[in-house]
Amino acid sequence: MADKINDILSSWGAGRNVLLYGPPATGKTRVLSELYEALNKPPEAQRGILLDVADAERPFSRPKQQITIPQPIKVVWTTFHQSYGYEDFVLGLRPEITAEGTRLQPWAGIFLDAALELVDPKSSYKSVVIFIDEINRGNAARIFGEFMTFLDFDYRDGGRGPLPLPLRQLTYKNGMSEEIRRPGGNAVMIPEGFTFPKHIYIVSTMNSVDRAAVPIDSALARRFDRIEMRPNLVDLAEYWHLNNVTIPTPTEENWEKLNPFETGYLLLDRLNVNIASDLGSEFELGHGLLAQVPAKKMTADGKLQPVEEKETWQRLAKTWDDVLFPQLEDRYSGRPEQLLELLRVDNAPPTGGYAWMLRTALGGTFEARTLASVRVSELDIEVVKRSFRWLTR
């Protein structure tokens, strides 16, 4: 995660916004969360060593992570969704009933409010960071509107060609706008020709798989540095306390001896190799999907102890039923033969029961080329073990 945070800070330092994209459960939102903490309390850097000669116990330390944007930093978090609009992000007009009648009162959305924050003489903030989770769940082009231009640092104050804010919704008098209400309750006016402040930075996440989301258009996309988030087996190995160097390659001789964590690790790897080959790497399964299979659990007296092997197999089976298989079904929708191949239905283990079979009519006279419905977690534990181990190969 630390390298991703370094990448984001580096992009901001170069005057670029950042888009984290990848399949679900690859740690995108976690990066945002860690970045959020880092901005409030800079963590240790990955490089550099400092020595405190007076400290005999722990004399060495890392310097603090260098934050590349001016501080203090105001951090704002938002999530785009289908009802999210320009009015929420840039500028909305809300009816206000007064004794004189009804008028439309301008209210700043998150992006414009960030600009107003930095020009507010009473504010101590020097930068504003906007976290946008799920940027492609809303209609981003509509949400940003003409403010898409100001995603580009060149057109902001101090840039190569600063442009005035094109807010035609506002009325101006004597060179100043009408009052704009801010979410905190303040009201401000901006001068005609107001330019967008430089130090507003955006980091957003985008799911590369979800069919319910819309792809962001190229005009928006090119205004972001893209950081790809991939399924990470090293993270999974760390989570399960596995040494990923010593995980065996499954062979004819050893596949029946794999423990549940080795099996889960190899299973995710094999599924993702197949998915990348069949559908493309952007459809791979995130390592976070297996986070529901813990290596340790808390005892009643508050101590951590390893989860028993049988329980781990059961949790793996439950995670398969509730999380992994629905994801596979979704990805292989309309490709039943490829799913059958992935699950090795025609190539089951030579002996013993196996979880995935073809569906057969009750009369036994007709076998369809379709998968029989199964809840792996309800099968005998030996079948569970054999099935997942077999699937690693």
Binding site: A2, I49, L50
Partner: protein, 185 residues
């Protein structure tokens, strides 16, 4: 709070129980020998020479290199550390037996600074072993970006809250690691 120093590299050496015995025991023992120094095996000699600003030097013709090193935990205190050549393209940190007449044990590696110690009359490695820290013993020398040296040691296992990103993580090695150099960048 005093200003922290920027470190360029940390040289370190895993001290084995046998070496611990040799630098603690009476220097003259019946039947001869044993070393009164800490050996630097050939595997880490190139990194050590680099650390001492003698990169690529012919170790078999190397003159004595003496550095003056401060003491971690005792600001203001310093002492010399001598690196001598040794047969087989090795090096040694000379005169580290604390009981030999011309002992030059660095002050950072003495019991006054918390360095483990065995009784003066300890007779063999087995007798010294109870005084050897569970989890091991390492000596280190840190070099600042300005070229100043500071010596210290670690003993036992890593603190439970120490993470792999911590610069001292490698000063608590797992398994049989002889030593090496930790780079700041």
């Amino acid at each position: 709070m005093p200003q922290k120093l920027n470190i360029d590299r940390i040289w370190w050496r895993n001290v084995q129980p046998g070496e611990f015995y040799n630098i603690e025991r009476i220097h003259r023992i019946e039947g001869g020998g044993g070393s009164l120094y800490i050996e630097i095996p050939s595997s880490i000699v190139p990194d050590t020479l680099d650390f001492l600003d003698a990169t690529g030097a012919n170790v078999d013709a190397l003159p004595v290199i003496t550095i003056q090193a401060g003491v971690v935990g005792q600001p203001g205190l310093t002492g010399p550390i001598e690196f001598h050549r040794k047969a087989g393209s090795r090096l040694r940190i000379a005169r580290q037996n604390r009981q030999q007449p011309n002992s030059q044990r660095h002050p950072a590696w003495t019991s006054a600074c918390g360095f483990p110690s065995a009784p003066d009359d300890v007779r063999n490695k087995e007798e010294a072993f109870p005084y050897f820290p569970d989890g091991g013993l390492r000596i280190y020398i840190a070099k600042t970006v300005e070229g100043d040296y500071y010596a210290g040691f670690t003993k036992g296992r890593p603190p439970v809250d120490m993470t792999p990103n911590h610069p001292m993580w490698n000063l608590y090695p797992q398994g049989r690691v002889v030593g090496g150099v930790i780079e700041a960048d």
